[in-house]
């Protein structure tokens, strides 16, 4: 118990942030797993974060009510974004979504009544790590169910080849629209979780930093399975802490180098079901060959 408390004192905040980042990564994964690279999770997070902060700050809403409100806000923002962006070609979509992140910050800066503007907002409520863990677990269950349902199968098809999927009766637009809604809800929850963790937010909180953290986490962990973003977020969040412990002078450089190496050597991420399948196939081939060789020997 003693050692656990010591460990928690040292790494507790890392674990907390890993869980928040896991929510952002899952939100990114939601759209990425249908073939859409979008940075708009940051926008959904900002909507969820400021909404939750204001509701709990101004109206004294408790946590359990603020989170669903943030989810709704994120989901609504996602519906608007999906409506405007889904007709764009994929490369264009990536650029447009990044632009929207920039716009969101400026908008937030110029709407002090809603966001506190440059001064930011103090958030009076705090989320406990255990509550955060429950929230993440709930989201994970959703992604697990999605993965094993018709939606999961259809989204894999749309991601791999949208044209072929459409000739099988799957509407890529519909699948991607739903994916955006999920991304919005989870992103909104993540934004609120961040607000209740930091207890102070400003327009700078929801900016490029989160965008790159969540994309890096998702791709690092693997964007072909829901476990990927969660593992990726843990690794990516722990990386700075670890690097600070090992090479305190150049921790940022070391973090970049590690990211670079993982990407070059494991481009499909740490969790890659396809790699397992390929390994299985190779093993199967070896076995049949061995069997054949044995038969040949027996004949000779």
């Amino acid at each position: 118990m003693e050692t656990f408390l010591d460990l928690w004192a040292a790494y507790g905040s890392t674990v907390t942030f890993a869980m928040v980042n896991a929510l952002f990564a899952l939100s990114t994964y939601a759209v990425l797993s249908t073939g859409v690279l979008s940075f708009t999770t940051v926008v959904f997070a900002a909507v969820g974060g400021f909404l939750a902060a204001q509701l709990s700050g101004k109206f004294g809403l408790p946590l359990w009510a603020a989170f669903p409100a943030a989810a709704l806000g994120g989901g609504f923002a996602a519906a608007v974004v999906a409506f405007a962006f889904l007709r764009l070609e994929s490369h264009w979509m990536a650029l447009a979504s990044l632009a929207l992140v920039l716009i969101t910050r400026v908008t937030a800066l110029n709407a002090p009544a809603l966001t506190g503007g440059v001064n930011g907002l103090i958030v009076p409520v705090r989320v406990e790590p255990l509550e955060l863990a429950i929230l993440l677990a709930l989201c994970t269950v959703v992604f697990w169910r999605l993965h094993r349902s018709w939606f999961g199968l259809a989204s894999r098809a749309v991601r791999e080849d949208a044209a072929v999927a459409s000739t099988m009766g799957i509407s890529p637009y519909r699948i991607q629209f739903i994916a955006f809604l999920i991304s919005g809800v989870v992103g909104g929850l993540g934004g609120a979780a961040l607000a209740f963790t930091l207890q102070f937010i400003s327009p700078e909180t929801y900016f490029i930093g989160i965008a790159f953290t969540m994309i890096a986490s998702t791709v690092l962990g693997g964007s072909f399975h829901w476990l990927g973003p969660i593992i990726g977020a843990a690794v990516f969040t722990a990386l700075p802490t670890t690097m600070q412990a090992i090479v305190p002078q150049i921790e940022d450089v070391a973090k970049g180098v590690v990211l670079l190496l993982i990407m070059i050597f494991l481009p499909r991420g740490l969790i890659d079901p396809r790699a397992w399948g390929l390994k299985k196939a190779a093993k199967l081939r070896e076995e049949t060959e061995a069997k054949r060789a044995a038969e040949r020997d027996a004949h000779a």
Binding site: L37, R87, L95, A96, L100, L102, N110, I215, V253, M263
Partner: protein, 295 residues
């Protein structure tokens, strides 16, 4: 009236920096399919290279510019070959290169911080043309004229290169074609290296010129250019350098005028509102071509 024209030129010069920076970003995006988060660091490092060339070796102005341009170009080639080339054969699409570019962004920004001692440096005033050119009632800084001309030359040069030469045709052909890029034939290889170098060199030019005229040589230089250069690319349409150039100039002029006549605090907001308007009303930018459907 005099103030109006001077501010116009002021904005034009500022916008030329954004455009110069954006051209390379758009070129890499349309030709190599890479959303390069590290593009801003080329500008920072070019400015740092130019600064140290002046500071340590006392080189004249054109040499300092050349140091920045060539430095930026070479840096871009190195980043491409280490960070992007290994992924080309692995078909990771836009994603893999985005992540490695983020990695390089983190690395190069943090190293740039060390290189400038975590502060912002300024070129010594005697090291660059710092006179005013008097044209009738107007007084225009020499650096602004140099910047405006630099953008003109680069835009025309790169546009002709892409539209009129064989290597340009190859560049258009490689655009996003992973198979062609992965095969790595002489042509594809040349296209990749040339595109990377051009992008780094133009970004570097923007970096040195911007570092001189804003007296800010540090990693924040590249980040500032990145935000505005990116806007220029989106508004102009990423697959045409002319669009980027015009959009960049317009953004610069608008920025200066909004600050002058409306309010400084609205400056960035206005730029991004314009960006939003373009995203919704004309998502392909000024000159953007229609997309094609793969079947």
């Amino acid at each position: 009236m005099q103030l109006f024209v001077e501010q116009l030129i002021n904005g034009w010069a500022l916008g030329s920096l954004y455009a110069l920076f954006g051209i390379g970003f758009g070129l890499v995006f349309s030709t190599l399919g890479i959303l390069n988060a590290a593009h801003g660091t080329y500008a920072s490092w070019a400015a740092i290279a130019g600064y140290y060339a002046v500071e340590r070796f006392g080189v004249p102005f054109p040499v300092a510019i050349a140091a920045g341009v060539i430095g930026g170009g070479l840096l871009a080639v190195v980043v491409d070959q280490i960070g992007f080339q290994p992924l080309r054969a692995k078909k990771t699409g836009m994603l893999g290169a985005l992540i490695t570019s983020i990695a390089f962004w983190i690395i190069l920004d943090s190293l740039a911080g060390f290189a400038t001692g975590q502060q912002s440096l300024a070129f010594p005033a005697a090291s660059y043309p710092n006179q005013m050119v008097v044209m009738g009632p107007l007084r225009v800084p020499q650096m602004q004229i140099i910047t405006i001309v630099a953008l003109l030359v680069c835009t025309i040069g790169i546009h002709l290169l892409i539209q009129k030469t064989r290597i340009g045709a190859a560049m258009r052909a490689v655009g996003w074609n992973e198979v062609a890029a992965a095969l790595g034939g002489v042509n594809a290889r040349m296209v990749i290296l040339l595109t990377a170098f051009l992008a780094g060199a133009t970004s570097g030019l923007a970096g040195v010129l911007g570092g001189i005229s804003t007296s800010n040589v540090s990693f924040t230089l590249g980040e500032g250019l990145m935000l505005k250069g990116f806007a220029a690319v989106v508004v102009g349409g990423y697959d045409d350098v002319r669009g980027t150039a015009i959009a960049g100039i317009c953004l610069g002029i608008i920025e200066v005028f909004v600050a002058q006549y409306i309010s400084t605090s609205f400056r960035d907001g206005f730029t991004y509102m314009l960006l939003l308007a373009f995203l919704i009303a004309r998502p392909r930018g000024l000159f953007g071509s229609a997309s094609f459907v793969r079947a």
